[in-house]
């Protein structure tokens, strides 16, 4: 079975631009979470979605938004890109949103803002 798939794998954007990152969860998983991993740091929670509804939001500005589609895939959108948004963006899927659900990460999308 395929794991969590993310696209694109690498992209370069200019400051002020907008970016959309995409994620398909593991088959049968209904929850998707997004994490930002800056070089040399651990992943930091951005959003969690379940059944198309936002179930959690981390400490990120409103420039960050996400949504989940009926097929459980998800998009992360970032507007007005800043240099500091350069990071690995990780999508993770889990069966549902219960306590202590195991999350499985994709390979990530490397975003470079110049």
């Amino acid at each position: 079975d395929a794991g969590v798939t993310q696209s694109p794998t690498h992209l370069i954007k200019t400051r002020g631009q907008h970016v959309t990152l995409r994620c398909s969860p593991i088959s049968g998983h209904k929850s998707v979470s997004w994490y930002q991993q800056v070089l040399g740091q651990g992943p930091q929670f951005i959003f969690q979605y379940y059944e198309k509804e936002e179930r959690g939001r981390g400490n990120f500005p409103d420039r960050f938004s996400a949504r989940q589609f009926p097929n459980y895939s998800s998009e992360l959108n970032v507007n007005a890109l800043l240099l500091g948004d350069s990071a690995l963006y990780l999508c993770a899927s889990s069966l549902d949103v219960g306590r202590g659900n195991t999350i499985y990460f994709g390979e990530g999308s490397w975003l470079t803002v110049v």
């Binding site: 651990g42 195991t102 999350i103």
Partner: protein
Amino acid sequence: QQQVKQSPQSLIVQKGGIPIINCAYENTAFDYFPWYQQFPGKGPALLIAIRPDVSEKKEGRFTISFNKSAKQFSLHIMDSQPGDSATYFCGAGSYQLTFGKGTKLSVIP
């Protein structure tokens, strides 16, 4: 903001040694504590996880020790191999995870 403090930042051991990575958390409501392994250019892969109702869990060469009263947990890698060289992250949470900053492990032949 809830924190998870991980140490050491980097670790070098010889093949066959037992590296130990430590994490401490603050929120007593946390009830799920996974460890992830990440190789350069790859996403984190789940290694092993523990819940606070047990004090130790072993899977293959990897063992988690958990001290609920101290709010600390650690990862032990038995008979470490050069292929274990990677960055290890501890996580803690209930519905979402908070991660430590990572430990870069190098196992030298």
